[in-house]
């Protein structure tokens, strides 16, 4: 079961995060915190013509929260807001065990499904996605 949580793809995103860093202004910054364990994900993003034209993350936290943020930046860059919203809902449903993840649509992100069996870790996996949801809500 531990193998499902700490899949190689997750550890790879943790050790070699994609999209880690900050953007130069103009940008939207949204902070996300998980106060019980100290996880922190800060998203920097830029919206152009109804799309997420660029996105980066920084912060600190456990392997799951940081790998999830890394996957998020890869997945949503270039997406329209409607596409991003749909993806967020799909990922949250998968992580919470409410729906199966579609490997074609989600790619690497399906590896996050392993947290289902670790209820205390679900919040780590969802942190970046909830933070993006909030960033988009504030931008609209």
């Amino acid at each position: 079961m531990l193998d499902e949580l700490y899949q190689e793809i997750i550890l790879d995103h943790y050790r070699h995060p994609r999209g880690r860093g900050e953007l130069e202004p103009p940008k939207i910054t949204q902070e996300g915190f998980n106060p019980s364990c100290g996880d922190e994900v800060i998203l920097d993003l830029r919206l152009e013509d109804g799309r997420i034209s660029d996105i980066r993350f920084h912060g600190r936290g456990c392997s799951i929260s940081q790998a999830s943020a890394s996957m998020l930046t890869e997945a949503v860059k270039g997406k329209t807001l409607a596409e991003a919203h749909a993806l967020i809902q799909q990922v949250l449903a998968m992580v919470k065990g409410e729906a199966e993840g579609d490997p074609d649509a989600l790619g690497d992100i399906v590896a996050l499904a392993g947290v289902r069996n670790f209820p205390v870790r679900v919040k780590c996996a969802t942190l970046a996605w909830h933070t993006l949801e909030e960033a988009l809500r504030n931008a609209e």
């Binding site: 700490y6 550890l11 050790r15 364990c37 100290g38 996880d39 600190r60 456990c62 392997s63 870790r121």
Partner: protein, 412 residues
Amino acid sequence: MATTLTIDASEIRRQFPFFQPHPEMRSVIYLDNAATTQKPYSVIEAVSNFWAHHNANVHRGGHGAGARASELYEAARERVARFLNAREPAEIVFTRGTTEAINLVASSWGEAFVKAGDEIIVTEMEHHANLLPWMRLAEKQGATLKVWRITDDGRLNLDDLRALLTERTRLVAVVHISNVLGVVNPVAEICRLTHAAGALCLVDAAQSVAHMPVDVQAIDCDFLAFSGHKAYGPTGIGALYAKRSLLEAMPPYQVGGGIVKTVSWDRLVWSEPPTKFEAGTPPIGEAIGLHAALDFIDSIGRETIEAYEHELTRYALERLQEVPGLRLFGPVPDRAGIFAFMLEDIHPHDIATVLDARDIAIRSGLHCAHPLGERLGGSTARASLAIYNDTAHIDALIEGLHEVRKVFGYAG
């Protein structure tokens, strides 16, 4: 290591239902005692017996059951007073726990006696329970909050306190045993210095009362707070000890039923302490459970507990040093059985998850002491001992930490 441990922990564990086989629960090596301890049968039975057979409100009804409930409740207060060596039961106010006890002092004593320009000293290692009430009070009153910094090995230097104390100092708030560093602070010496400067001293004893003798007269503190649930008792009950003269001078905290001698539209006379501070129906069953918990502790004896946990701590320190890449916080070897650490650059939450998969319960995070966490460089993993732990539990923890290293790609 040859150990001549003074206690047979397996014998103690037999007194706890949590450690007995259960058809739906896996057996857990419980090393999260600084968060809360497990409860012995005697506590659960005392609480259950009260609800089943003696339930009535206290200090109210004109009937026998009410009188019996009042007797049991006041016997619990008397037990706490004896446990702490207070001068009299009237120096013990029941609260929901340490947090409420300190909030009571900050609201009642603080707002009455701390004025603009006064100073309150808190240590850098305080739990939020003994930090946020003082931050808020300082802001409200226009007082200054001064921080007593820790040394690099996680101790308090008394010379630093001497430098901080001034004639404007009203209170020094200090933790007895840090819930992160495991350091045992010299609270009697701190009280002596504080009194010499004309200020009062509050001791947060949440992590100490179940692990060592605590004598409020020997410490000579003005206030001391603790929680039942970290001392084998129920949640929702704790106590504030305060010198009687202070309780008499302090206004009530919450107001309502049970705390007045007389009320009319033009006259209001508060009850004597401690009743004055216990508005509303108190947690009666929980107080009775606390009584049983203190009986449990003293049935073993606090000197014996301290000696046993000290031995276990020395063993744990030795074995933790064997784990490559492990950085332990707090002083060595003189400390209590609370071990906060980092391992390589593996996040503490991941450490806890791998251990949890092996049925070993520890805590990870900032342990409600964010400013201290900042000083230490972030979240830590924390294992903490109680009287029912033994060397086999430490061995399992060490083996688990080697497994953590393996999962995250560190060579054995």
